[in-house]
Symmetry: C3
Subunit: 254 residues, 3 copies
Amino acid sequence: MSEQIRATAEVTKQVYLARRSDHYWRVTIDHPPLNIFGPDTIPQLNEIITALETDKHVKVVVFDSAVQGFFLTHYDFLARLEDTTRLPPGPTGLQPLPDMLVRLSRAPVVSIASIRGRAGVVPGGGPMARLPRLMGRGRALEVLLGADDIPGDLAELYGYVNRSLPDSDLDAFVESLATRIASFDKQAISETKRFADVASLPPDFEIAPEWDVCLASIARPAAQERIRMLMERGFHRPGDVEDRLGYYVGQLGR
Amino acid sequence: MSEQIRATAEVTKQVYLARRSDHYWRVTIDHPPLNIFGPDTIPQLNEIITALETDKHVKVVVFDSAVQGFFLTHYDFLARLEDTTRLPPGPTGLQPLPDMLVRLSRAPVVSIASIRGRAGVVPGGGPMARLPRLMGRGRALEVLLGADDIPGDLAELYGYVNRSLPDSDLDAFVESLATRIASFDKQAISETKRFADVASLPPDFEIAPEWDVCLASIARPAAQERIRMLMERGFHRPGDVEDRLGYYVGQLGR
Amino acid sequence: MSEQIRATAEVTKQVYLARRSDHYWRVTIDHPPLNIFGPDTIPQLNEIITALETDKHVKVVVFDSAVQGFFLTHYDFLARLEDTTRLPPGPTGLQPLPDMLVRLSRAPVVSIASIRGRAGVVPGGGPMARLPRLMGRGRALEVLLGADDIPGDLAELYGYVNRSLPDSDLDAFVESLATRIASFDKQAISETKRFADVASLPPDFEIAPEWDVCLASIARPAAQERIRMLMERGFHRPGDVEDRLGYYVGQLGR
């Protein structure tokens, strides 16, 4: 896509907000075929996160996916890097992607990820600061540096997710938890979450440098060559590379 | 119960200390029918915690319950709030309830909770500061904000308890662990615990504001209305509301 | 062994380094019959850790044992305490044993412990600072103060190890993970690990005093008497005491 076409093209809507009630919102990622997110996704998500921060009534938000097999996969490596880097920093002073993730963590609502299908880590968005606090040092290093797919049951064992459920139970579980939380007092929710944040959120100054290092890392020839090899094999297109990305990432350097 | 009767009534003994040996103590909560604790319980527990802090010989203490089905359930919502708030702060400068819990954490003895039956969180006593450090942010938020009953096996998965055991194995396991620890050197126990405290206890300044926010929260009309609704349905009396409090709490706001 | 003989004796090689490739090293502890480590082991391990810190190519190192039934068991209580205490501090300013362990944690390579057989904690090396961060306060206190053997499956539940695998699967799993990591970019590995370190490593000032307290503890008459009793029963010799050390440690003070 040439720059001119891109600049004037209508940006596809990729993220949909549905208000199940004043108290309970759903955010659905619907960017087929792979739910890849990129510079176009950021303002759309940002608008929703701003609404979650400021709405007087919302208590709980569920993130899910409308795309079979993919929750929210990796960043868009076909987008020009400048489209990401030229975005101005967000209210926290962090770059837009980590800014949004940090603000969602602190928003006065409970967020639940109903993960069905592949989900990617968000390098630069804080996983190095977050995962060791979530699952302990050893397992975090395995997840970050093994860079392999983590099946649901292992994710549950590691504390990466709260629970791994049979596919047929997931929707009912999430619905029950979300409607339950939506029945509680918003002030009690926001105060409780704020206290838990103090005890568990990494400070922003730990997250900030991850972004710069991540961008610098992607720009290095070694990474560019790996991305090129992955592209040749089918990266960014429906198929086996996207379905078993962990496996293919492990083949590139051999 | 009128104020005058209450002021002159003999306070029921609710907490019993048994010295199995110089080194191994048992604290049994016996306040039937529900092991509700309140302002009357605090001085009784405080006396025991002071003894645990100062006794030269005790190495391990097991807390258990003499009441079928309940370990230590929620706070006494029938007691006048002033009976709690007028208690002077403890040695840490915290209010008596969080003060006791913090002091037990730091006491130079190992404490083991042998939980058989329902156990309530202690809002204001530090769960927002403690749980994210114990089980990670995501699960702590689910426990705190889902506010639902947590079965033993889920508690074990989440690291909320060390182990979930079949009822028939619990006593033997606890007895074996307690007598084992009681056979070790008290100085080694207290020094080891003190180092672990540095690495794991939240600072008191994180716990202090939880208390004020908790009290303010209870005093709000929204909470008072919920407590009133729960009382109508059987709260504070043996029966289904106390047996399945998580369920009933989830019904109030619908 | 007299001091003179010891001073002039050739020190047995106990730790072997094999370079499977430029990127993937193996460190094998081979000090039969029990893989006890002591003052003689420290310089040998230190040399390897220095190589891991400075080598330009190594990305992953696996530690394993050549001794059936023992990975790396306890410290050498037959060695004279002075042989340990007179060793000068390492580059971190910590004593050599905690110094090495801290430096391995920070080294720009991934280290994997392939534990087959008994492994001992390293008092003075930082377990009080590390374990509560790894598995939460309650379980860390049980491990440290219960001082009992922890079977593999319990270690996995507690997050003490990443995974517990059937013996027949261990080698293939470790080999696969190590060769996978060895295929990645060294700079990405070292940068990622450094960020995770910030989020998860205890500060050195928490580890330093553990060493002094540990040494003072060993020197106390109570500990010396226990060590003497253990020695009488077979400590430091192949047999039931070493095979079930947790059990025997629990018998001494009864």
